[in-house]
């Protein structure tokens, strides 16, 4: 297919999908008539064809971003049409519009929860845990004996359900955010330790020999060669830890909190069957988690600009 024809087809399909979707959403209000379902299906089909066409037309940078977004929008549309049209009970699955309204309507509560869970427990725990793991790896770098002993133990502990220590931490450090930060610290420490240790071995013998011919000291070799070579491993651990940290903080709040926090809100509002509030909280958590992950990825690109994968 030529470029112009593909563009025309994309524009046509996109317009059709939007128009049909609009009609279907309008029809869905207050019970979906039979033809409404047909329109919704047609809108879905148009969106599908749009993605298919766009994917096969050798997409550029902008299209690479647009395709997953279109897919996500289609999912949201189907969710809305099915929940509203079939009049599904809100307890089961509230429509996205209801969640959006709740999100906009209770920003004060959500912000307070976000502060308590994310800005205190997650960020502090993440910084301390990752920092401690990184420094420990460097501290034992000079002792092959300790490395050989710690690597298997660290790998083993990384695979354990560490989240289980949450009740113990709540008992030791009280209900407020320090206990959650402690859980986060333990959760992120071992992946960071293991990955940094692996990263410090990543430089090649030839490169280390070159540093020796320059009469470089241990610290010079560490800072100029081995730490930059370890950066991909370290950032990999930072990314893993960013998702672990949020999970750790939220789940730890199920075991006891002051009356604020994302995990607290989720568990209490579930009990009161305020499912739209739970979904609003999850949306905040998802946004925060994605933004956190995205930030680490951006930082990685800036620091390891010399890697082929980063130039991608």
């Amino acid at each position: 297919m030529s470029g112009a024809a593909a563009t025309a087809r994309l524009a046509l399909l996109g317009a059709a999908a939007l128009a049909l979707g609009w009609v279907a959403l309008g029809a869905a209000q207050g019970g979906m008539p039979g033809w409404g379902w047909a329109v919704a299906l047609a809108a879905w089909g148009c969106a599908w064809a749009w993605v298919e066409t766009a994917a096969n037309a050798a997409p550029g940078r902008l299209m690479r971003l647009a395709i997953p977004l279109a897919f996500g929008a289609t999912l949201l549309f189907l969710w809305e049409v099915v929940t509203v049209g079939a009049q599904a009970p809100a307890v089961l699955l509230p429509p996205p519009s209801m969640i959006g309204a709740r999100l906009a309507g209770s920003t004060a509560i959500l912000w307070a929860d976000f502060q308590q869970t994310f800005l205190r427990a997650v960020l502090i725990g993440y910084a301390v845990g990752c920092g401690a793991g990184f420094l420990t790896a460097i501290a034992i770098d000079r002792s092959p004996f300790l490395q050989r002993g710690l690597a298997p133990v660290g790998n083993f502990i990384s695979a354990l359900p560490i989240i289980g220590i949450a009740p113990i931490m709540v008992m030791w450090f009280g209900f407020d955010w320090p206990s959650k930060a402690a859980v986060v610290i333990v959760m992120v420490f071992f992946p960071m330790l293991v990955n940094t240790m692996a990263g410090l071995q990543a430089s090649e013998p030839m490169q280390r020999d070159l540093m020796r011919t320059y009469a470089a000291s241990y610290w010079q070799t560490l800072f100029k060669l081995r730490l930059p070579a370890a950066a991909p491993h370290v950032f990999n651990a930072l990314k893993i830890a960013s998702t672990l940290a949020l999970i750790g903080a939220i789940v730890a709040e199920f075991f006891g909190t002051p009356t604020v926090g994302m995990g607290f809100r989720i568990s209490t509002e579930v009990g009161r069957m305020n499912v739209d509030m739970v979904w609003a909280e999850i949306a905040v958590a998802a946004l925060a988690g994605s933004a956190f992950y995205g930030l680490v990825t951006l930082l990685e690109r800036a620091v390891t600009f010399w890697r082929p994968a980063a130039r991608g």
């Binding site: 096969n56 897919f71 996500g72 089961l92 998702t243 739970v278 998802a286 994605s290």
Partner: protein, 287 residues
């Protein structure tokens, strides 16, 4: 130098630190009790007391070991106090979730590798789905499915499946794309169909990736099952033991449940590794 000696040393050091911490953390309570009774404790008495409290801040390793022994061997299997029973309940949810998640992950990976549109639209969302703290939704899934009448094994297994599909999907996509240009071209000179390329080239090449992913998936699947047990009112399973222990301050019970979970995780990962070694060796690959 083998690895046994260093690992043993590290483990011994950890146990030693643990014992020291036990004394340090439990001593205040022991001193307090002694002061109320109007007695003073010698150092030896203090240490002995710190390691034998009913509800210590930190139980000593041998206390945890004794509790595990008592609740697995010396209790009847039908009793609710038997730890093995709780382990089995968590294990069944873990395995069911792991199987569902692995099947889903492999299916998605096959779809992504063979369909460009699926690749471009699904892959970013699969990655994004993991930046979302899935476990945060766990209580809601449990409660909502309970409202529909689904309870017990299935909701927990679904959470495990949601967590474990991701490593499998990502690993499998990488694995199915692992064959090199040259190999794919060779298949084309044989006039191999897409299905033939899949079964005789892509799938065998993907197996090492699949096993590596399954090790991660089975561990995370266990975490999902444990967290899934938290909001159900804490009836049965390792997660329930943790929650009940934290409600009643039974620290020894919490620690023994934790160790049971750790042993279970080690066992599951070990089984997957064993499967990996056997399968890859039979295929003539270096494991």
């Amino acid at each position: 130098m083998s690895r046994a000696l260093p690992v043993l040393t590290v483990v011994l050091v950890i146990v030693a630190i643990w014992y020291a911490a036990t004394v340090w953390l439990n001593a205040p309570w022991a001193r307090d009790q002694a002061a109320r009774a109007g007695a003073t404790l010698t150092t030896i008495e203090l240490v002995a007391d710190a390691m034998a409290q009913e509800r210590p801040v930190l139980p000593a390793p041998h206390q945890v070991a004794a509790e595990i022994w008592k609740s697995t061997v010396e209790t009847r299997l039908s009793s609710k106090r038997n730890l093995l029973r709780h382990v089995w309940i968590t294990l069944s949810a873990t395995l069911l979730g792991f199987v569902i998640g692995t099947a889903l992950g492999v299916g998605l990976a096959v779809l992504i590798v063979h369909n460009r549109a699926a690749d471009m639209s699904l892959m970013p969302w699969i990655v994004a789905s993991q930046t979302i703290p899935i476990l945060a939704i766990a209580p809601m899934i449990i409660v909502v499915l309970n409202a529909v009448g689904l309870s017990g094994l299935i909701p927990k297994a679904l959470i495990s499946a949601y967590l474990s599909f991701f490593p499998v999907a990502v690993g499998m996509v990488a694995g199915l794309r692992a064959p090199e240009r040259l190999d794919l071209d060779l298949m084309r000179t044989y006039a191999a169909s897409r299905a033939q390329v899949f079964w005789s080239l892509r799938l065998p090449a993907a197996l090492p990736f699949l096993f590596a992913a399954m090790k991660v998936a089975v561990a995370i699947s266990l975490v999902g099952a444990i967290v899934g047990e938290l909001p159900t009112g804490a009836v049965e399973g390792l997660g329930a033991r943790l929650l009940a222990g934290s409600y009643y301050g039974q620290t020894v019970q919490i620690w023994s449940a934790l160790f049971a979970a750790a042993a279970l995780a080690a066992l599951l990962v070990g089984l997957v590794s064993l499967g990996q070694r056997v399968v890859l060796r039979r295929m003539g690959m270096r494991p």
